[in-house]
Each structure stands twice: as structure tokens, then as C-alpha cells.
């Protein structure tokens, strides 16, 4: 299994890319801005931890999926994969390595953003309630689930789209719609919504990845 080797490799490429630098630094900054805007407009502030999780899932998921789709389309069209595909590895290794490396980077960015939220909430209120921490945990679970679905949609669209433009449009409109699927258990107020969210997101993400791998396996380069 060469996925591990490619995963570490791709991680090296992604973590210092401009988009990832935006995620590492930009997300906490944007969350901070949201917090001050909400505090000054309504007079009472939403816990920063929750804001951070919301920002991460909406902006981070979109960016991650666009990044994945654009990278894959670009590399596919520039024929970068030819030199990988003539080596003893499975085609799926390439896609899985890309998915997991971007997902890992965005997941770490999410943790950083939520952790920043917790630190700021603690420093402003002097204490952290269990409710805030539970909310933060749930928000993080939802965020990571949505990002997983967005990333897998990015991979599928990347494999199937002929051009970067088509891919970007499909990801921004289609990928974003799909990535809200994990919110359904929460919207329906189901018991154990977080667990349902994770199970649902995993199922959808696996389904999308299997579709992407099937198309990629059939592709004639």
C-alpha cells in the first residue's frame, strides 16, 4: 500500500501551500472578526468557540474542496499522473493520499481555530462552562463531518471535470450543497445527533470517494 508514502508526500506539499497558510492563520482571524462584529451589533456575544467552529466548517470546507478539485484537475490535465500511474501502485492510492492530506490539514486548522476560541472565551469570561465545551465539541464534530464530505466531493469533481473552471463551479455550487448533508440529524433534532452526523458523513464521503476511484480507474490517460 503506497497510500502512506504518498500521503506524507502530499502533506508536505499542502501544508505550506498559500491556501493552507490562509486556513492556519486566516480562519482564527476571521473568526475573531466575526466575534467582535456580533458582540458590537447585538450587545451580547456568541461564545467564540462556536463562532470558530462555524467559520471553519463553512469557509474551510469550501476552500478544501475547491483546492482538491483544482489540484486534481490541474495535475490530470498537465499529465502529472502519468509518471505515478506507470509505477507499481494502485490508482486509488493517489486519490486517497490527496483526500487524507487535505483533510488532515483542514482538520488541524479546525482544531487550531476552535482551540483559539476556547482560549479567548476563557480569557474573556474567566471560566468555561460545560455547555460551551459540549457545544464546541458538537460544532467541531459537525465541522469535521462537513469538511470530510466537501473534500470527497472535491475529489470526485476533480476526477470527473474536464477543466478547472467547470470544476470550480461544480465544487462551489454542488459540493457545498452536498456538504450540508451531515447537518440533517441536527436539523431533525435526532437523539445522538453528533454520532448520526459522523456516521452519515462517513457514509457519504466513502460513497463519493468510491465513485471517484471508479471513474479514475476507468480513465484512459
Amino acid at each position: 500500500m503506497k497510500t502512506g508514502l504518498l500521503f506524507v508526500d502530499e502533506l508536505r506539499g499542502f501544508y505550506k501551500s498559500k491556501v493552507m497558510i490562509f486556513l492556519w492563520v486566516g480562519l482564527p482571524v476571521i473568526a475573531l472578526m466575526f466575534r467582535f462584529i456580533s458582540a458590537s451589533s447585538s450587545g451580547q456575544s456568541i461564545p467564540f468557540t462556536v463562532i470558530s467552529a462555524l467559520v471553519v466548517s463553512s469557509i474551510g470546507g469550501t476552500l478544501a474542496s475547491v483546492m482538491l478539485a483544482v489540484f486534481i484537475i490541474n495535475e490530470k490535465n498537465r499529465r502529472v499522473y502519468d509518471l505515478f500511474l506507470i509505477r507499481p501502485l494502485k490508482r486509488r492510492d493517489i486519490l486517497l493520499a490527496k483526500f487524507f492530506s487535505v483533510y488532515t490539514c483542514v482538520a488541524v486548522a479546525s482544531f487550531i481555530a476552535v482551540l483559539t476560541g476556547i482560549v479567548i472565551d476563557y480569557s474573556t469570561t474567566g471560566a468555561l462552562s460545560t455547555a460551551i465545551l459540549t457545544d464546541a465539541g458538537q460544532s467541531l464534530a459537525i465541522s469535521l463531518s462537513m469538511i470530510a464530505v466537501a473534500c470527497s466531493a472535491g475529489v470526485l469533481i476533480g476526477v470527473a471535470s474536464p477543466t478547472v473552471l467547470v470544476g470550480a463551479i461544480l465544487v462551489i455550487y454542488g459540493g457545498n450543497q452536498i456538504s450540508v448533508i451531515p447537518l440533517v440529524p441536527t436539523l431533525l433534532n435526532l437523539p445522538y445527533a453528533s454520532i448520526f452526523t459522523i456516521v452519515l458523513a462517513t457514509t457519504v464521503a466513502v460513497g463519493l470517494l468510491v465513485a471517484a476511484i471508479t471513474i479514475f480507474n476507468r480513465k484512459q490517460f
Partner: protein, 322 residues
Amino acid sequence: MTSNSSNDNEFVTIRNLEKKFGGFYALNDVSFTIKEGEIFGYIGPNGAGKTTTMKILVGLITDFQGAVSIGDFQVPKRKDEIHKLLGYLPQSVAFQEWRTVNQTLTTFGRLSGLSDTKVEERIPEILSLLGLADARNKKVSHLSGGMIQKVGLAQALLHEPKFLVLDEPLGGLDPLSRYQFKDIVLKLAKKGTTVLFSSHILSDVQDVADRIGIISHGKIKQVGTLNELKISLVSQKMVQVLLSFASDKWQEFGAIRNVIGVEQPSPGRILVRLKAGSDEDQAVNDIVQNVVKLGIRVRGVSVIEPSLDEIYFNYVSEAENR
């Protein structure tokens, strides 16, 4: 037509290969073999089917008709085994731009099954062989076209493959690099590496290839050593007429008795192909009389042995005219 050598040490076998893109035949009943340790030059005009053949061999195109095998392994069924034997340089080589040359080669070396120690050992070796030692830590995106081509060659040679497939490997290389490349290929073949390479630069093919395959419009026109190809054409015989001034009147030579074709491979140089078995002295005499009649000024008329260029022109133009 095809004169395939049947030898017991055939390493690559292609039989009745067909590939269609929509209704268009990219390859039509292509058959040839490559012997172990042989350098096989694959030439043909743009769109003739060279790259498609190579992509089928390396497993990038898996949807085709016919039988293809490398060593004891059937393509594409035994892809995993074949990929361990293979080094490939595509026509337009591209890498992930965030990588350095070292990272690129390390990844490809590891994916090809080399150990970390072996990769560390091979990278400086191969980079100095190709004159790229100083570029080891440079980002691929900062390299010139020729240097990228060399990195492409480096990744193909890194794991010391038994079979090298090189698609237009000399494109973008300066004359010195081309010379070095040909030298490397010749040395590899001496060590037993089988090489298939395509090129538009016929003199380069002539310099290194043990045997040559000419493909046009998806069909193999001829396969053989340079001498075999010459003999196949010598039976037809050729007269070269060098004009003092460019003139279109040379086309009239086509009407001369026993002439089966006239071409102008370069301005002022006319090649007149004669019917097999015809008397070349008589033909030269007829051509000279025609030259006088047409009022063309000529620098010389001689019977010639065909070069690879002429052989190529002969088979390719034959296919064009059909």
C-alpha cells in the same frame, strides 16, 4: 510491408494491436517485436500512433484490441509486474510544482520499490550523469524546459529498469545533452536494458537504434535494421538530382519511363524513385535528357543509397498518397 524478425529473445511483443478513438483508428493491426537489450527506434509523422503505442505498453491506455506482452507478462493484465520492469519518459513531462528535484526523485524512487538507502545512493549518481547535480535542491517550477526533460529522464533511469520507453526524449535538449543522452542509452543497452524510443530527429534514431519501426496513419510500414530498410528501398533504386535554382519543373520527372515517384525532401534536392528491376543507367540518361528538354539547370545527377530520411519519406509519403 512489415518484416518482423522472429527471434527467441523477444522481450516485447505486439500483435495485431488496434486502438480506436471514436471512429478513428489510432492504431490499426500493428505488430512488431523488440529483442532483449535492443534499442528500437520508433518513427513516424505527428499523429501516426507512436505515443498511443507507448501508452498502451506502459499501461496508461488499457482499452485496446490485440496482444501485447513485456517479458513474460501480458499487458495490461499483469500491470503490477510490468510496472516493476518499466521506466517511462512521456512526450511532455510534468511534475508537481511544489516539489524540489530531490523530492521528485525520492518519491518516484520509493514508488518504484527502491529502499531509502538505495534512493539516497542513486539520486546523486543519476543527477551527475545528466549534469543536474547543482539542481538537486531546486524547485521543479524553477527549472528550464530542457532541465525538466532531464529530470524526466532521471526518474525513468533511477530504478534501473529493464525496459525503457522514451517518447520524444530529445525534444528541448541542447546538442551536448542530446549527445550525452544517446551515450547513456547506448551504455544502458550494452548492460541489457531494452529501449523503445521515438523521435522526429531521424539522425538521432539512426545514431542509436539497432532496429527501426516506421509507423504512419496507425499502420506499421516497415520494421528492420537500417541496412534492411535500405535494402528494401535499394531494390527500388533512387536517383538524386541537385538543381542549381529552385524550380517546380522537377514534377515533370514523374512522367519519365520506369519512374514511380518524385519527391523534394529539401529545396533543390529531388529524389526520383525507380521501378524495381529497372536499368539505373538508362534512367539517369532519361532524366538528363528531360533536364535538358525542360531547361532546368542542374548541379549533379547520381544514383544514391537511401538515408533514413529517404526511407522515412518513402514510406510516409506512400501512406499519404494512398
